[in-house]
């Protein structure tokens, strides 16, 4: 049995049941488009999470009595901690200079006389998960010479937790979309099998094996999935253009800034991904159907 023959037979089915093809193509491309959106959302959430986590740093406020030697020892202890990625020491003078930029604060500080600001150390951690940051901050607070220590605090914490929750919700959505696509393909193939009982009977009576009858249907499923993926990619690209246009005009946000390596690359990778995903879902759907309808 040659592959060429199977593909020809699959295209014969494509040609024959035009309306079923349209229905399955429509359903497939919608599911895949939604799946593509889910993917974009997931990627966005992932990037946002990274972005927020990147900003997280722990600040230790030092008391004034430590002195130069104490400070060096303190900084060395911190640098040796396995979780620490980098430390920046902000002296009292530097803190004063940073705050003096604002004329109002400057006036206020001048009125106080002297320098009331504490020296501090800004510490970046290697792993910025909430648990990790909290544990490190507690450890830091108990070091000698540390007045107090804090990190971005509850806000960042809550946001990260919310994002994690959204990520789960989006994943659940993706799973149901995948199932919907598989179910649609499976049912359409079942319809095609019913419509072709007689033909299948004839093929069997002249000696066709089960796989000979199944093969074209499996290829049909793959073709449908791939075409749906291609259509979905086109629709998503169009949607992107529209959204980007309005967000630039109405909100003055240039969405292209979020695609650092260029829109074309994202489009090509996305299209390939959608076609591949579609083919796999199409194959899965047709396998479900032929397993059910075409037993020996």
């Amino acid at each position: 049995m040659s592959l060429g023959f199977l593909i020809k037979e699959a295209f014969r089915s494509l040609h024959r049941s035009k309306r079923l093809n349209l229905v399955s193509l429509g359903a497939m491309s919608m599911s895949l488009m939604a799946l593509g959106l889910v993917f974009v959302l997931t990627a966005g959430i992932f990037n946002l999470t990274r972005f927020i986590e990147e900003k997280v740093e722990v600040v230790a406020f030092l008391n004034d009595q430590a002195g130069a030697a104490g400070l060096e020892k303190f900084l060395a202890t911190i640098r040796e901690h396995p979780q620490v990625d980098g430390v920046e020491h902000i002296s009292k003078e530097k803190a004063l200079k940073e705050f003096s930029g604002d004329p109002a604060i400057r006036e206020f500080l001048d009125a106080l006389g002297g320098n009331p600001l504490p020296a501090s150390a800004r510490i970046r951690l290697r792993e910025k998960t909430p648990v990790n940051v909290q544990r490190f901050t507690t450890w830091l607070k108990n070091l000698p010479g540390v007045e107090d220590a804090s990190y971005g605090g509850g806000d960042a914490d809550r946001l990260l937790k919310a994002l994690q929750f959204i990520r789960l919700a989006v994943l659940a959505l993706a799973v149901s979309l995948v199932m919907a696509a598989v179910i649609i393909i499976a049912n359409i193939i079942s319809l095609m099998v019913y419509a072709r009982q007689e033909e299948i009977r004839i093929m069997r009576i002249i000696g066709a094996t089960n796989w000979f009858i199944r093969g074209p249907l499996l290829i049909w499923g793959i073709i449908q999935g791939a075409a749906g993926g291609l259509a979905a990619a086109g629709l998503l690209a169009a949607l992107w253009q529209v959204v980007a246009f309005y967000s630039l005009r109405e909100l003055a946000i240039d969405l292209h800034a979020f695609l650092p390596s260029g829109a074309l690359k994202y489009f090509l990778v996305g299209t390939a991904g959608l076609i591949l995903t579609g083919s796999i879902l199409g194959l899965a759907g047709s396998l479900v159907s032929v397993g059910r309808e075409l037993q020996e």
Partner: protein
């Protein structure tokens, strides 16, 4: 090649189509079956190609009891049988050539030789010019000959022809008969049903007479009626 041992066939509506059929057909023989309409000729043919299983008794083809074939063996069993169905069983959305080629594709033939084999088979039945037509555009007799071409194209060792001349004039029908006789010369076994006593007379082959599901008589090869 072919044996029936006390074969009974009762349809679901309790109709007894065949009763206590006993048969032995050696390899390479040409056997004709005749009898009135409704006698059970097509039923007998369908039992041989395992389209149905007998209610009782054994049908042995090529040393296989057809009732004992495993599902995965059935396609390979059927490829060794060519059948001219009385009701044609053509695929009407495929061309004549595609219909004939299907018997080869199903058997796992390589793509390149297919066209040649198909053309040869169509030529044998006198339809070499009709390959590109859909079966709808053929006359009844032409359709029947397409079915014959499909049944013979893969040179099966057993050829079952159910009323292969039913829609043909005497001259064309006789051509078909000669064709069937020809294939027995290469060792193919042929079982052919017909209503036409003229053919039975002219062929001088072994002939079984069935009526109401029972074999009523037999004419040996060479005998005249």
């Amino acid at each position: 090649m072919l044996q029936f041992h006390h074969v009974y066939m009762t349809y679901q509506n309790e109709f007894k189509a065949l009763r206590d059929i006993n048969l032995e057909i050696p390899r390479g023989e040409f056997v004709m079956i005749t009898g009135p309409s409704g006698a059970g000729k097509s039923t007998l043919i369908k039992l041989i190609c395992r389209e149905m299983l007998p209610t009782k008794g054994q049908v042995i083809v090529d040393d296989h009891n057809v009732a004992k074939l495993k599902p995965r063996q059935i396609p390979f069993f059927r490829r060794r049988i060519g059948v001219v169905f009385q009701d044609f069983r053509l695929l009407y959305d495929r061309t004549v050539a595609e219909n004939v080629a299907l018997a080869l594709y199903v058997t796992g033939y390589a793509g390149r030789t297919i066209n040649r084999e198909v053309n040869q088979a169509l030529k044998k039945v006198g339809l070499e010019k009709k390959g590109k037509l859909k079966p709808w555009h053929l006359s009844g007799g032409e359709m029947q000959r397409v079915v014959l071409a499909r049944a013979m194209v893969h040179d099966p060792p057993l050829l079952l022809a159910d009323e292969p001349t039913g829609n043909l004039d005497f001259a064309t029908g006789w051509e078909v008969m000669r064709l069937l006789r020809q294939v027995t010369e290469t060792g193919t076994t042929v079982v052919c049903t017909t209503h036409n006593l003229n053919f039975i007379q002219k062929m001088r082959k072994r002939t079984l007479f069935i009526d109401k599901g029972i074999i009523r008589g037999e004419k040996k090869a060479g005998q005249v009626l």
